[in-house]
């Protein structure tokens, strides 16, 4: 089985700013991997680099074995990737349902969740489907941002800070959602500031600092790595 995501010697720039330095990471099919690190460590930039949303990129990014490091952004989604950005990016000129239906299927054969399944998983979104996208609450917009990539058939999900700024009860719901998706075989790369949210969900952890990977370990080693994490993250 091909590795879902394989990044080798990735460097990335925003204009003149050199943000990522020789990043190497890999994610197997069905794994949940978390990128930890302080603000400004380069975690969001890593996700954006995978989607081709940064400036110049060097190095290799392979999605399901296909080299995507030189592809234009609109072709990367069709490799089966769904991207949920930190700012959620709900469109204000569209209704909630239009937002949900906007992303096209990633391929002709991809089996995404049906709209009914999504509304069953997120009943709030069904209720608010006719509302203008940005009139939804923060929690609802976050659910919508994840829900719309589930419809496309993407199996590799890039989730950037989905628990940020949300009430604990919503964060719990998101945690349950990730567990369900994991059970269904989705591959998930999560950028998370909220350690309590990420720790029980992830199979493996990478820690970033100054645009580089400085630590990586499996969930089993979490206990023994806590002192290191305390130093790196101020957890």
């Amino acid at each position: 089985m091909t590795t879902a995501l394989e990044i080798s010697h990735l460097s990335a720039w925003y204009g003149e700013s050199h943000i990522l330095h020789d990043v190497n990471l890999s994610v197997e099919q069905g794994e949940v991997v978390t990128l930890l690190g302080r603000n400004g460590a380069g975690r969001t930039t890593t996700l954006r680099a995978i989607m081709g949303l940064t400036g110049r990129r060097e190095g290799s990014i392979k999605i399901n074995g296909v080299e995507s490091g030189r592809m234009p952004t609109y072709r990367i989604a069709h490799l089966g990737v769904g991207y949920c950005p930190e700012e959620r990016a709900i469109f204000s000129s569209l209704s909630a349902e239009e937002n949900l239906l906007l992303p096209p299927p990633v391929s002709k054969t991809a089996q995404g969740m049906s709209v009914d399944e999504i509304y069953a998983m997120f009943p709030n979104l069904a209720e608010r489907r006719a509302s203008q996208g940005t009139r939804l609450s923060g929690g609802e917009q976050q659910m919508l941002a994840v829900a719309r990539i589930l419809r496309t058939g993407a199996r590799l999900l890039l989730l950037d800070e989905i628990s940020e700024g949300l009430a604990p009860v919503i964060v719990q719901a998101l945690s349950r959602m990730i567990t369900t998706l994991k059970a269904r075989g989705y591959t998930i790369v999560m950028v998370e500031q909220n350690f309590r949210f990420a720790a029980p969900l992830a199979d493996r952890f990478y820690v970033m600092e100054h645009g580089q990977i400085v630590e990586q370990f499996a969930a089993g080693s979490l206990e023994e790595k806590m002192p290191v994490l305390n130093e790196l993250l101020g957890v």
């Binding site: 989607m51 949303l53 234009p72 952004t73 609109y74 072709r75 990367i76 989604a77 069709h78 991207y83 950005p85 990016a89 469109f91 204000s92 000129s93 569209l94 239009e98 239906l101 906007l102 992303p103 096209p104 990633v106 990539i149 496309t152």
Partner: protein, 294 residues
Amino acid sequence: MEIFGIPTSALLGQLLLGLVNGSFYAMLSLGLAVIFGLLNVINFAHGALYMMGAFLAWMGLNYFGVNYWVMLIVAPLLVGLFGIVIEKTMLRWLYRLDHLYGLLLTFGITLMLEGVFRSFYGVSGLPYSVPSQLAGATDLGFMLLPNYRAWVVVASLTVCLMTWFVIEKTRLGAYLRAGTENPKMVEAFGVNVPLMVTLTYGFGVALAGFAGVLAAPILQVSPLMGSNLIITVFAVVVIGGMGSILGSIVTGLGLGVIEGLTRVFYPELSATVVFIIMAIVLLIRPAGLFGREK
């Protein structure tokens, strides 16, 4: 019968003329607004491409014997294609820059187009006759309705409303609206946004070309017909604001009517009334009557 000292038939006649002008304002400002929304380019060439539509209709008839009805379809397609070429070869390099560069480039294109047509055809207008099916007028009792002008209003409104429907009510329109708001995100979903941008420019200028064909039997087909119109159309876009498609249509028609009525009651003001309104709107509601603050 008289209203405010003006005979009713004269008033209604001017109202119709106002609606006709308003239809052109609506179609042209619609194209401009859609292009500005997605491309961030102020398409000064809109007037010249409208002129090109009229000239293509004239050339079709006089060089190839192709009638008005065929040119009504063919001319916008040709103008749209020409627009696609402009976008792919020149405009796309400017999107990251200030609006000013798009304006300058399209201004330059305007000068080139007008210069070329002027050197071949001079500045005095070329005649284009009303198609026989629409010649003459219908007696409505309270006024005599010139058939062709009624057709212009109906055709323009139909095209504008169809455009509104596609943009506001269909999936394709959703891509356009979302792309106007956050093109990178729409691309991240796998939509070929660069292609959408090219086709949107082509469509916007095709609307201008369509307006040109409609205008040919009414005005003289002249290389300057675009510049006479484009400044007023810019004012219309500023007044209506960029936010709403329906807003562009309503504003265009409304201002055409206001201009027409001003011509009846106070003709000296008719050339400037739109700009006076624009100044007032800018002071009270800078985003335009229907605009959304970006």
